[in-house]
C-alpha cells in the first residue's frame, strides 16, 4: 500500500462458502447419498467483488440486512477469513471484536482471559500485565473478574471484550454488532472511547443495525446488499437507501447477537 493515509484497503474481494445443503441423519441416508455421489453442497458467495479504501481516522459503519455479507467482510478485514479472491491490506495493528467477544475461553476467569485475549492479538505478556488494571477498571464488572467467563451475562462478556480490545491501543478497531448488548451507560462509555480513538487518528469499522449509532458516530457508511456494495457514502444517504430497501422486505431491523457463538 503506497498511500500512508489509508488504513484498510480492500481490493475486489470475494468470499465463497461451501454450504452444507442437507445433512444425512442416518447411516442409511448417508449411503444413499454417497451412492448418488455428493450433492449435499452448494456454493454461496457471501461477499462478491467488493473494493473499498478506509482512511485513517475514519469511523465507518457497515449496514445491510442479515446475510448481506457484513460480518464476512469484517472477518476478512480482521484476517480471520482468507478471501477466496482479491486482497485485503491492513496498515497497522488491529483489534477485532467479533461475535460477542474476541477469543475468550469460557472456562477461564475474566482476568485469565485478559491475558489470553491479548496474547492472541499478538501483544506480549508484559504489555497485558501493565494494562490489566486499566482493562478491569473500564470493564467495571466487579468481583466477576475472577469468575469463569462462562458465568458472565452477555453484557459483562461484552464489557470485558471491549475493554481489552480498546485498552491495548490498536490502530484499527473492528466491531461486529456487539455494542447492542451493553446497557445504556456502558454504551455511552464505549462511544466516548470510540470518539477519542478517532481523535487519535485511529480507524474504526463498525457493523450495527442501529441507525442512530450510524447517524451519530460514523463519518461514512457502507451499505451491502446480497454480498455486493450497494452504496458507499454519508450515513444519511446509506440509511435512506437501506430503510428504503428493507422497509418493504424486512420491517424489523433488530438482529439479536448470537449468545457466545
Amino acid at each position: 500500500m503506497n498511500d500512508p493515509s489509508i488504513s484498510i484497503s480492500v481490493q475486489n474481494v470475494t468470499q465463497r462458502f461451501r454450504l452444507i445443503q442437507e445433512r444425512p441423519d442416518t447411516v442409511r441416508e448417508l449411503f444413499a447419498k454417497l451412492a448418488r455421489k455428493r450433492t449435499g453442497y452448494r456454493d454461496f458467495e457471501a461477499v462478491s467483488g467488493i473494493s473499498l479504501d478506509i482512511r485513517k481516522g475514519e469511523i465507518v459503519g457497515l449496514i445491510g440486512r442479515n446475510g448481506s455479507g457484513k460480518s464476512t467482510l469484517l472477518k476478512m478485514i480482521a484476517g480471520v477469513y482468507r478471501p477466496t479472491s482479491g486482497t485485503v491490506v491492513v496498515n497497522g495493528t488491529l483489534a477485532p471484536l467479533i461475535e460477542l467477544g474476541a477469543g475468550m475461553h469460557p472456562e477461564l476467569t475474566g482476568r485469565e482471559n485478559i491475558l489470553l485475549n491479548g496474547l492472541l492479538m499478538g501483544y506480549s505478556k508484559e504489555t497485558m500485565r501493565e494494562r490489566q488494571q486499566k482493562i478491569i477498571e473500564f470493564a467495571d464488572i466487579g468481583d466477576f473478574i475472577d469468575s469463569p467467563v462462562k458465568q458472565y451475562s452477555s453484557g459483562m462478556y461484552m464489557r470485558l471484550a471491549f475493554s481489552v480490545a480498546t485498552e491495548v491501543d490498536p490502530d484499527i478497531l473492528v466491531v461486529d454488532e456487539i455494542l447492542a448488548v451493553g446497557d445504556f451507560t456502558f454504551q455511552e462509555k464505549c462511544f466516548d472511547r470510540l470518539r477519542s480513538f478517532r481523535a487519535l487518528g485511529k480507524t474504526i469499522v463498525l457493523v450495527t443495525h442501529s441507525m442512530s449509532q450510524i447517524e451519530d458516530h460514523c463519518d461514512r457508511a457502507i451499505l451491502l446488499e446480497k454480498g455486493k456494495l450497494a452504496l458507499d457514502g454519508t450515513p444519511e444517504e446509506a440509511i435512506k437507501a437501506y430503510l428504503g430497501v428493507s422497509a418493504i422486505e424486512e420491517p424489523v431491523l433488530v438482529e439479536a447477537p448470537s449468545p457466545r457463538a
Binding site: F17, R18, A78, G79, V80, Y81, R82, L94, P96, I98, E99, G101, A102, G103, M104, H105, P106, E107, L108, E112, L115, L116, N117, L119, L120, M121, S124, K125, R260
Partner: protein, 258 residues
C-alpha cells in the same frame, strides 16, 4: 520449516499460556488435580507389573522400571496426539474470532503434555529409588531421545489436527490406531521375547527407535547404536516435515470447517 520455527518463537508466550490453560482446565474443579496425569501411567504400571511379574512369571527384574522407562514417553506421545487432534476443532471459538497462527494449538497441546512427561519422570525416579534400581550415567543421554520424540510427536500432531478438521472420524480412528500401536510396540514386553526372524517386522515401526533409547539408557544403562539414533531422527524429521506440510497447506481453510 522456517515458518514453524519463526512462528513458534513469535508466539511462545501464547503457546505457553495455552498449554497451561489446557492443563488447568482439564484439572480444574477436580480434587486430585494434576495428580491425575500421574496416576494414569502409574495405575497401568501397577496392573501390568502384577500381570507380568506375578501371573506370567516374567524374568525381567525391576519390571516397573523396565515398563515405565518407555511407557512414560509413549503416554506423552499418545496423549499429545489425542489432545492435539482435537486442538483445532476445540479452539474453534478462538479461530473464528481472531487472526492467529493455527500452529499454536497443536504445539500447545504437545507442550502441555511435555509438562506432564517431565513431572512423571519424578515418579519414575521415586520408583527407581524404592526398587534400588541403579542410576546409570547413561541417564545423561535421555535428552537425545526426548528431542527426537518431541519432533516426531509434533509431526504426527500436525497431521492429525489438520485431518480432524475435515473428518471428525479421525479422532476416533486415532484412538484405535493408538491402541493397536501400543501392543505392537515393545512397551510392555521386550523385543527379545521374539525369535530373531520376527524382529525384522518391528523395525518397520518408526517409534521403536526412539523408545529404545529411553529403555536402554534408563533400564539397561546402555547407549543405542549410532544407526538406531540416526534412524530415530530420520523418522522424527520425516514425520515433522510431512505433518507440517499438510498442516500448512490447509491451515487457512480451517476456519471454514470448524
Amino acid at each position: 520449516m522456517t515458518e514453524l520455527i519463526r512462528d513458534t518463537f513469535r508466539y511462545r508466550e501464547l503457546i505457553w499460556s495455552l498449554a497451561v490453560k489446557e492443563l488447568t482446565i482439564r484439572y480444574k474443579r477436580s480434587v486430585l488435580g494434576f495428580l491425575w496425569a500421574q496416576l494414569n501411567p502409574l495405575l497401568s504400571m501397577l496392573v501390568l507389573t502384577l500381570v507380568f511379574s506375578k501371573i506370567m512369571v516374567n524374568q525381567q527384574p525391576h519390571y516397573a522400571v523396565f515398563l515405565l522407562s518407555v511407557l512414560l514417553p509413549w503416554t506423552f506421545f499418545s496423549q499429545s496426539l489425542s489432545y492435539a487432534t482435537e486442538s483445532i476443532v476445540g479452539n474453534a471459538d478462538l479461530i473464528k474470532k481472531v487472526r492467529v497462527a493455527k500452529l499454536v494449538f497443536p504445539v500447545a497441546a504437545v507442550v502441555s503434555n511435555m509438562i506432564n512427561l517431565l513431572l512423571s519422570f519424578i515418579s519414575l525416579v521415586l520408583i527407581m529409588l524404592v526398587l534400588r534400581h541403579p542410576f546409570y550415567w547413561t541417564l545423561l543421554y535421555l535428552p537425545v531421545p526426548l528431542i527426537a520424540l518431541v519432533i516426531m510427536t509434533l509431526g504426527a500432531t500436525f497431521f492429525f489436527a489438520a485431518a480432524n478438521v475435515y473428518y471428525r472420524d479421525v479422532a476416533h480412528i486415532l484412538q484405535i490406531v493408538l491402541q493397536v500401536w501400543f501392543y505392537v510396540t515393545p512397551i510392555i514386553y521386550s523385543l527379545e521375547f521374539f525369535p530373531m526372524k520376527y524382529r525384522v517386522y518391528f523395525k518397520l515401526n518408526p517409534i521403536i527407535y526412539l523408545l529404545n533409547g529411553f529403555r536402554l539408557s534408563v533400564y539397561y544403562g546402555l547407549l543405542p547404536t549410532p544407526q538406531s539414533v540416526i534412524a530415530s531422527f530420520v523418522c522424527a524429521f520425516a514425520a515433522l516435515y510431512f505433518g507440517f506440510r499438510i498442516f500448512r497447506k490447509y491451515q487457512d481453510d480451517f476456519v471454514f470447517y470448524v
